[in-house]
């Protein structure tokens, strides 16, 4: 029943799109005031999509296996929480969620843009409707979440156990808020370009949307990363997996855009650049969807391997890119109202430098991600690009990037000078000496590491100084930059000081190395509702005689029949102790991985801090 209502309501929502387009065109031509009928229809469409989404959730909650999606991805023994989160833990449902966010955002846009001109609002709405229609057709045609199965099966196939996790339950909605937020930026930029209305006011208005999408995208990536850390048992925070990369690319573009908008809202320069960035952010978000959904990339996210879906997204993507290029070249006029006459030493230059580096990082990630796909298509040679590629190309460029990040905010708009800037050099010397000392005492390779650490320290010290000297001026920017320096420092030291032991042990055996003694004491069995758990008890004694007990788990799920390992992690302020245990079929040995990962919690915390900087900026703008 719920599924039936959902299906009808989805189709009704689709029909409303055409009504909206019809009335928008009429209103755009004829009248001077915004026709409230359009706003009403937009809300109605949102309402239908939300009913449809609720219908799907209800089908999942009631385990209505006449619905194909529910049958494929749910099971009666699954806990209620994962029945609900299972709604978007699959291809069809997650697309419906995407659509829901699309309609939600355009409704919010209409409510929050009352001060803007009528033409601009209608055009944005129309561009957004084009995207919405595209998604409606995609869902109804190729991935309808409300397909019937007859005869009705008694039991579903269950949700992949590694997706049965709290972090992953909220990861897709948060990430989608970020991805889809960029659709509003895209539509609004196209609208403003068409009207030749890219102004300082527009920049101020769109900046809020950039901030909101940026915050959610950052948090979404963070959640995914935390989940991969403890659930996949990879024991790290970033693996340059293509699926991670496709979320990083829109983030890089969006971060660049955020900085460009800062310039645009002060002085009307870099307009073409802002347009290009807005378009590419959304295109990259769509590309991510395409790569992940089409099954070209292999990962957790590859829910289905259906070439038709991939092809559809690809065609849709090309249409959008073509449309935006057409608008950009046809309507966008580069005006010389305000000539780009800023002095080389100014805030504008530093933001431009930031942009250059960001674009470089983006290119590296883009090439590393799509080159294997490209090569396979043209030469059917299969390759993969590993972490060394990214490290080699990105790490050295972090040094000037970090320095620019520290100095940039100190410069003034248009023209700055070097008077009273002596402390900048002083801090540089301090941070260099400090890091040289630390690296020396750690006894690792000296040159590159010292320079890296000192540039991160430099940003760290300068931003801390600003907390005290500048009081609350530019607080949000300072928090975000401070968070970034903390992030880089934590990553670096995490890298320097991590240790790992991998070994195979039988129950009762002990592994000994110079630093630790790991004893595998025994195994407990525990039965849960939808899985059986094997809990290993390990005692780790380090050379100082400190004891630590860790209990990694193996979960054998009943439906689908999958074994997952749950890492046991002991976290404190300085370091994480991480252990996973793995069973290989028909063997007495357990595969044990024990890691000491310093500063993990600081990595997560610093990313939170970065997004908090964005939130603060958002709230402050809103209050004004």
């Amino acid at each position: 029943m719920a599924s039936l209502i959902g299906s009808y309501s989805l189709n009704l929502g689709f029909c409303i799109s055409f009504l909206i387009i019809f009335y928008s065109v009429k209103n755009f031509r004829n009248s001077n005031i915004f026709d409230n009928k359009i706003a009403l229809l937009t809300f109605l469409q949102f309402f239908f999509v939300i009913i449809s989404f609720l219908g799907l959730i209800l089908s999942f909650v009631n385990s209505d296996f006449s619905n194909e999606t529910v049958f494929n991805h749910s099971h009666t023994t699954k806990p209620l929480f994962y029945k609900i989160s299972g709604t978007w833990g699959n291809h069809e449902g997650s697309l419906l969620l995407w659509l829901l966010v699309l309609t939600l955002f355009i409704a919010i846009f209409l409510l929050s843009s009352k001060k803007q001109t009528k033409k601009y609002r209608i055009l944005t709405l129309m561009f957004q409707q084009i995207i919405i229609i595209g998604f409606f057709i995609f869902i109804i045609k190729t991935s309808n979440p409300f397909n019937y199965i007859f005869p009705i099966p008694n039991q579903g196939l269950g949700l992949n156990p590694i997706l049965q996790d709290p972090a992953l339950a909220i990861h897709p909605p948060i990430l989608y808020l970020g991805y889809v937020g960029s659709s509003i930026i895209f539509s609004s930029t196209l609208a403003a370009t068409t009207l030749n209305d890219i102004s300082i006011d527009w920049a101020k208005h769109i900046k809020q949307w950039v901030l909101i999408s940026w915050i959610f995208l950052t948090l979404g990536i963070l959640l995914g990363s935390i989940w991969a850390y403890y659930e996949l048992g990879w024991g790290g925070f970033w693996f340059w997996d293509p699926v991670e990369n496709v979320s990083l690319m829109p983030w890089l573009a969006l971060t660049t855009l955020l900085h460009c908008i800062l310039v645009l809202e002060k002085k009307l320069v870099l307009t073409s650049w802002v347009i290009v960035l807005s378009i590419s952010t959304f295109t990259l978000s769509m590309c991510g969807t395409f790569l992940v959904r089409s099954g070209i990339l292999n990962s957790v996210h590859t829910f289905a391997n259906d070439p038709e879906r991939g092809l559809y997204i690809l065609i849709f993507l090309f249409c959008l890119i073509f449309l935006s290029f057409f608008i950009f070249f046809y309507f966008h006029k580069i005006e010389n109202k305000s000539i780009n006459n800023f002095f080389w030493l100014s805030k504008e230059t530093s933001i431009l430098i930031n942009n250059w580096f960001m674009m470089y990082f983006l290119t590296v990630v883009l090439i590393g991600t799509i080159y294997p796909i490209f090569l396979e298509v043209i030469s059917s040679e299969k390759i993969s690009v590993g972490p060394p590629f990214y490290h080699k190309l990105i790490v050295p460029f972090l040094i000037p990037f970090l320095l620019a990040m520290a100095i940039g905010p100190k410069l003034r708009w248009i023209k700055s000078n070097l008077q009273n800037k002596l402390y900048l050099i002083l801090y540089l010397i301090i941070s260099f000496l400090l890091s040289a000392l630390i690296i020396k005492s750690l006894g690792i390779s000296f040159l590159l590491n010292t320079v890296l650490v000192s540039s991160a320290f430099y940003l760290f010290l300068i931003t801390i100084r600003d907390f005290f000297t500048k009081k609350f001026k530019n607080l949000s920017q300072n928090i975000a930059h401070f968070g970034f320096s903390l992030l880089i420092l934590s990553i670096l030291f995490n890298n320097f000081l991590s240790t790992e032991i991998i070994t195979n042990l039988k129950i009762g055996e002990t592994y000994e190395s110079e630093k630790f003694k790991i004893s595998f004491e025994n195994i407990d069995k525990k039965n849960e509702k939808n899985f059986q758990a094997l809990i290993g008890k390990f005692n780790i004694e380090n050379k100082n005689g400190d004891n630590e007990s860790l209990q990694p788990e193996l979960r054998i799920y009943n439906q689908p029949n999958i074994v997952t390992s749950e890492a046991d992690i002991k976290t404190n302020l300085f370091t994480d102790k991480f252990m996973t245990m793995n069973l290989v079929q028909n063997q007495d040995y357990f595969n044990i991985r024990y890691q000491i990962k310093p500063l993990m919690i600081w990595i997560w915390f610093s990313v939170l801090l970065i997004s908090f900087g964005g939130l603060l900026s958002f709230i402050r703008k809103y209050e004004k």
Binding site: Y360, P372, S384, Q587
Partner: protein
């Protein structure tokens, strides 16, 4: 003569071009050094020479071939035409089982022995690496 502004703009464009070319060159160069090629056991059999570079081997874990010792895990990867022996010491993924697909990354010792440094984790019971699928379909 051209004005100062035009000259400046010219240098600016030139600067952009040079940086662009340089960075693209840098990326492609390091891409060349860092890609890992994928090969099936059958492809390895017909190799002209054993390279020193890291490669990936994919196929099925042969039934009754896994042998675990304290320090290492040994098993056989097969594509049902040819086989290769793999020695590995490291963490194995959850779904590493006999009769299922696997991708091992590491170095070839010779045409029959492979020293793996990483075994790739896959996350789904229905999952089969596309490379394996392709290798199986060829048969």
């Amino acid at each position: 003569m051209y004005g100062r502004k035009v000259k400046l703009r010219f240098f600016f464009v030139l600067l952009i071009l040079i940086t662009l070319i340089l960075s693209i060159y840098l990326i492609l160069k390091s891409l060349e050094d860092n890609v890992v090629y994928f090969q099936s056991p059958s492809e390895i059999k017909v190799l002209a020479e054993i390279g020193k570079k890291k490669i990936r081997v994919g196929g099925m874990v042969k039934n009754n071939s896994i042998l675990i010792e304290a320090k290492s895990i040994k098993f056989v990867i097969t594509d049902f035409k040819n086989e290769i022996n793999v020695t590995y010491s490291g963490a194995v993924p959850n779904l590493f089982t006999e009769g299922k697909g696997v991708v091992a990354e590491g170095f070839l010792k010779d045409k029959n022995f492979f020293l793996a440094t990483k075994i790739l984790a896959k996350h789904d019971e229905n999952y089969m690496p596309p490379e394996v699928k392709a290798a199986l379909e060829e048969k």
